[in-house]
């Protein structure tokens, strides 16, 4: 959804694709780097390989789904309180 006059380099599809690749590489690196710098898990599980990655991702998915479900109950049109 860009305007015809908009050719900012950040909004070009090629840039966006490159950014996704860079992000993917970064994600892989943060997990792989655990081989070199092990996480000393205080509780055991938190030291597993890639634990934080899975935990962070999973926690976010759960929170988003929970929020979505709650939203179905509690959402109202934004003029709800306007009399």
């Amino acid at each position: 959804m860009s305007r015809p006059d908009d050719d900012h380099w950040l909004s070009r599809p090629t840039t966006v694709r490159k950014l996704w690749w860079a992000f993917a590489v970064l994600l892989a690196l943060t997990v792989l780097v655990q081989i070199v710098f092990p996480v000393d898990g205080h509780f055991g599980a938190d030291g597993w390989f890639g634990f934080a990655a899975v935990f962070g991702f999973g926690a976010c998915v759960i929170m988003v789904f929970f929020a979505k479900a709650l939203g179905m109950l509690l959402k109202r049109p934004d003029d709800y309180y306007d009399d």
Binding site: L27, T30, F37, G56, C60, M63, Y80
Partner: protein, 560 residues
């Protein structure tokens, strides 16, 4: 008596003189007053400085300690940078009110007794309400009244507790209070209302987004953080605070995820961040209390920065809603970059102030072997990145092209944002000076390779979750009901229902009385009316008969 300068006085004086003065003198007064306060704060030595008598109680309006100076310092610093942000755009009375509000916060920081604490507490309540009202318009007025009602209620509860303590113990000293009396619970509840703890948490997200773009910057800083200081001073290690803090953390995340109003997202994330501090006070170890204080310090900076960035957007575009914004990075690079730095700091990204302070709280939970708390805090850190760290900059500055091409921030707003952004990074890279100021000796190394790896994984994969779930995150033109629904809809509806019930009952009673009256009246008319038994004109014969009868009766009675 006073042989040096009470710090809060400079802000009070500045607010008054600034109100009277005009033009550039006024601006200079507003900018200098917080700096003078800051200087005054660093002249306050440890211990009780000033004592006086009031109603037989020893009042200690000024008591210094490293913890108190730390909070007062960040409040005064905040007042200065906030004024720099606002002084050319905000109305003078908003600045005056904000300075009196900040004076309240500095006053609470140095309060040596509960009476002084209460007085400054109420000063904050009054002038923060004025700041909310400065938002202008019917919404701000109504929100301000709701805000004031909750805070006055909180003040009354606090007062009940304080008076109970005065009567039952005879001491009004500020010290750790064991939670075994009614009085202590009242004080705790009064303080928790200002922390925005549930169930009365909704005042924050209701009021702050309705203030002016400059007002919300001030509002974000003082009320909840003075309450955190009060919790550290009065209830360190109170176990109940751990679950309360955790509820605040997740409530803030979930509500922010559902929100469309930019500043309301940030308001909910205040509740979330303050939840971390409440939780830390509940853990109560030296490491945890250091963490709470350090996090409060860092939080004020990055939260103000986020509100500044959002404030510039609202100021320049007049738009509050994510669904109407987007693509602003094109014309607002300074605002966008500063906003992103604030967003990274709140997410406690390595090299930002959030990482060096918030991780102390997780570490404290770890050292106490509180595994559930530790993992919930870790999940919450991921959630913070989700709801504030990415959501705020993404929907405001990137997302779609909204077609808006606003100018970037005015110079004073840019300067304020750059100062705050620099502070976020400085505290993240060189946390040492802040650690020096903490109440307890710090034996904590924030940057350990394993831990950095852990947090990077946690945060970046939350980022992945955000972009994969983006269709679920798109904002709609909706609001989400919060507890304030109880007093904005349920209570009025209940009241209306009662009124209607009373109306119906009254109608029935009236009808019954009228009916009875009419029936009774009808009977009387039957007897006394123009055609009634006694009222109608009788024939002469009948009258003569009655008169004769009455005479006979009289004569008989007379001779008896």
């Amino acid at each position: 008596m006073i042989d040096f300068f009470p710090p809060a006085l400079a802000l009070v004086g500045g607010a008054i003189v600034g109100g009277i003065a005009r033009g550039s003198v006024r601006q200079a007064v507003f900018l200098l007053a917080p700096l003078l306060t800051l200087w005054g704060i660093w002249q306050v030595p440890d211990g009780v400085i000033v004592t006086t008598e009031f109603l037989g109680y020893t009042i200690e309006p000024l008591q210094g300690s490293p913890l108190r100076r730390l909070f007062a310092t960040i409040f005064a610093f905040m007042a200065f940078v906030g004024t720099l942000f606002a002084f050319r755009q905000a109305k003078w009375y908003e600045l005056s009110a904000a300075h009196l509000y900040a004076a309240g916060a500095v006053g609470v920081s140095f309060a040596g007794d509960l009476i002084t604490l209460f007085l400054f507490w109420e000063l904050m309540a009054i002038f923060s309400t004025v700041v909310v009202w400065c938002g202008g318009g019917a919404r701000a007025r109504a929100a301000g009244i709701r805000y004031a009602t909750i805070h006055l209620l909180g003040g009354v509860i606090l007062k009940v507790g304080i008076e109970g303590i005065m009567v039952h113990t005879g001491s009004i000293e500020i010290q750790a209070i064991p939670l075994d009396t009614f009085d202590a619970w009242m004080v705790l509840i009064g303080v928790l209302i200002n922390v925005a703890a549930p169930p009365l948490s909704a005042w924050l997200a209701d009021a702050y987004p309705n203030s002016s773009p400059t007002g919300s910057v001030f509002l974000s800083a003082f009320t909840t953080k003075t309450a955190i200081l009060a919790l550290i001073l009065l209830f360190p290690g109170a176990g109940i605070l751990v679950p309360i803090g955790l509820v605040m953390i997740f409530y803030g995340i979930v509500m922010a995820l559902l929100e469309n109003d930019v500043r309301r997202i940030l308001a909910y994330s205040i509740v979330n961040q303050v939840g971390f501090m409440v939780c830390a006070v509940g853990i109560g170890t030296e490491m945890a209390l250091n963490g709470a204080a350090a996090h409060a310090f860092a939080h004020i900076i990055y939260k103000a920065l986020l509100f500044m960035s959002a404030g510039v957007v609202v100021y320049r575009t007049g738009e509050n809603l994510c669904s109407n914004l987007g693509g602003l990075y094109r014309t607002m690079p300074v605002t966008a970059i500063c906003g992103i730095i604030g967003a990274l700091a709140i997410s406690s990204f390595p090299l930002t102030s959030g990482f060096t302070t918030k991780s102390m709280i997780s570490e404290a939970a770890m050292l106490e072997h509180m595994s559930v708390v530790y993992f919930l805090l870790a999940a919450a850190s991921a959630g913070v990145f989700l709801h504030a760290g990415i959501k705020f900059p993404w929907f405001v500055f990137f997302q779609k092209d909204s077609g808006l091409r606003p100018k970037d921030a005015p110079w004073n707003m840019s300067a304020a944002m750059i100062i705050m952004a620099a502070a976020c990074i400085l505290l993240g890279v060189f946390p040492g000076p802040l650690y020096e100021l903490l109440p307890y000796p710090v034996d904590y190394v924030p940057y350990k390779a394993g831990k950095v790896v852990f947090y990077l994984q946690l945060l970046l994969f939350s980022g992945l979750a955000f972009f994969l779930l983006l269709p679920w995150m798109q904002r709609t033109m909706t609001i989400t009901l919060d507890v304030d629904w109880l007093w904005r809809r349920a209570l009025p509806a209940f009241w209306e229902g009662c009124a209607r019930l009373i109306g119906v009952v009254r109608q029935h009673v009236t009808r019954a009385i009228l009916g009875f009256g009419r029936r009774a009246g009808g009977r009387l008319m039957d007897v006394l009316g123009p055609s009634g038994t006694l009222g109608r004109s009788w024939q002469i014969g009948t009258t003569a008969l009655w008169v004769a009868l009455m005479l006979a009766t009289y004569v008989t009675v007379y001779y008896l």
